[in-house]
Symmetry: C2
């Protein structure tokens, strides 16, 4: 069989049903086809990227998100763009993701921006800030309110382009071995709460710690901690905290959002063909809603089980405590935003977004939820 | 110059920078390339689809969403998949979209499912239902809670596959020429509110109408209507309602969600190459978050202007009224869901999703919003 017959007509039909745009081989040599104009797709190896993540492989939430992005990119590119995922520690440590993408050791990373606050304090605002933006508001700020441009500016010196890629939603306030009935109950409280939330707690007399996730359970059960925040019901239940702390407090004032972060090496991104670059970005964008849906769905179920089977008591912080948390948050954030110019700019931008979106969210979502739940 | 030279090396580099996977021509004839294995992408015309919509071209919100999906698909496919948008009336009337996609007169439609309730009562639940699911909850129901399977089942007899594609968010309760201070104020109220929300209002003594959008302003200004709901601040302000009704009520109990609907002719969808089908679906999915961000951002601004410049008073329905609306909603929905088997199944599924998600949303988003806004 001639090559012409083998690869020629009915080539179009074959393409339309196979959808495989790249089929291996290194280069094509062509001959013209007589009367009809002949042009053919030059053929090459698929583009191959390495994705380093800060998560164990298939960790519910972010780990699953990272793998789904690889799968969707492969599917949408018809196999022309293959991204291989390396979980935390496989190629670089969990917190080595940013540097690996910056140096080009990996073309892409999946992580969370607040991990880089030692390098750039302003990065924390691209994950969450106490009494800050909810997932839907955070996405609006990044997409419409100037957030993306500031995020780009912050990472540009490192040769990195960031985008949102997944969201784990609003967090819970944490697990407590005793009730919080008044502000004084926070005094001397040993609570695992890293970051800005922990600083707010410190202002109110608590002693915040940054206990490693794997050690929280032991610390609670031995009485070395009185309380600990981690994530939400889905993750927290799998950690078994309900066995050693019966009060689960809401709201997660310290982290009302959980944006996953995709990091691209800027040179690698620039070298992608336009269509593959568009595919990559759209896969990340689609993951925001898909991941949030998954988190909400699983958090909702885990919450039910915690209440109905595990004997956990769900509590809302008393009004007096919330007022104090709000007040100290303002102080802590104001001081934090003075750390450097970018922190100041990003804080101002996020605050402006909250001030714009807040009144609308109050008369839409909040008013609706309050009206709906009054009957329940 | 030989064709071989013209289209051969450095073909790969040209592809990697152009990103144009299809460059016209009808068929390729190839010859083998000696030692290295040679395979080439058969070449054909781009896939061309017609998209009929229920919106004026570039209508803020849904019209922009429909065009953006076309743009993203073109970009991600490197021009191999071209979708031409026809606005309402250009190819078929606004409400002819479903039938056009069903018959194959168009391969794709963009609309809202509640338009088809005459044909299929259950379709209303895939847009919104009174005191039903918020955008984030609706997406979780469709993606995770069995909603998609029921939506597929409902449209399958018509040869249509539906997916979510954009979201205009929570609506407002409507414009009122006088205040609603107690339940009795609804008696005799002539209010423009189509659909299930209108039926709920009727139970409470109001007279709901389905006044066409273009006639609402006149009817309010002439005193033929006492109140009218339309959409949210962004759209409503452009309609000028604030000039003829000073009270803008919240919440939009009747439509807490605004999912845009993409309709695919099933045969056309099946005939797409796998990569183009994946691209099409991901573009629709990404649009959910992108459109909601845009709606929230613009609604927030319009709300500010309405309050600060247009002298509009934002009001929340009194508690007594909300309780009555909730009670009558239960009655109306219960009756509605008895219309046919699918209505009953879909209502049960959406209700189960609300019961699962509600308590989680209450301790996460709602508790957070209440805590955050208490200080404002």
């Amino acid at each position: 069989m001639s090559d012409q017959k083998k690869f020629g007509l009915p080539a179009r039909r074959a393409f339309l049903t196979s959808g495989a745009a790249f089929v291996g081989g290194a280069a094509a040599s062509l001959t013209g086809g007589g009367a009809s104009p002949v042009m053919a797709q030059p053929v090459g190896e698929p583009v191959r990227w390495r994705l380093v993540t800060s998560w164990p492989r298939n960790l519910p939430g972010p780990g699953v998100t990272a793998q789904r992005i690889c799968d969707r990119v492969k599917e949408m590119s018809g196999g022309r763009f293959l991204i291989t995922l390396y979980s935390a520690g496989e190629l670089v440590p969990a917190l080595g993701v940013f540097d690996a993408v910056s140096s080009g050791a990996a073309e892409m990373g999946h992580s969370a921006s607040f991990f880089w606050q030692g390098k750039m304090p302003a990065s924390v605002f691209f994950t969450a800030s106490p009494f800050g933006l909810l997932p839907q508001e955070h996405i609006a700020w990044i997409e419409r309110g100037g957030g993306q441009a500031l995020w780009d500016e912050l990472y540009a010196p490192f040769g990195i382009k960031p985008v949102m890629a997944g969201n784990t939603g609003v967090q819970m306030g944490g697990w407590f071995t005793r009730e919080i009935n008044e502000l004084d109950d926070l005094k001397g409280l040993r609570i695992r709460m890293p970051g800005l939330g922990g600083e707010v707690m410190r202002q109110l007399g608590a002693t915040p710690t940054t206990t490693a996730p794997g050690e929280i359970y032991q610390a609670l059960s031995r009485g070395l901690l009185d309380a600990a925040e981690f994530l939400g019901p889905w993750s927290d239940r799998s950690m078994g905290f309900y066995q050693v702390a019966k009060y689960y407090y809401s709201p997660g004032f310290h982290e009302p959002n959980g944006t996953g972060e995709a990091l691209f090496n800027s040179d690698a991104l620039d070298q992608l063909p336009d269509d593959l670059r568009a595919i990559l970005k759209e896969a990340c964008r689609a993951e925001n809603g898909r991941a949030l849906a998954e988190s909400d769905w699983e958090n909702a179920r885990a919450l039910q089980v915690l209440q109905e089977e595990d004997g956990v008591e769900i509590k809302i912080y008393p009004s007096e405590v919330l007022s104090a948390l709000r007040r100290e948050t303002a102080t802590v954030l104001e001081a934090f935003s003075q750390k450097d110019e970018m922190s100041s700019k990003v804080y101002a931008s996020a605050t402006a977004a909250r001030e714009r979106l807040g009144p609308w969210m109050a008369v839409s979502m909040q008013a609706f939820m309050n009206a709906r739940s009054r009957g329940e």
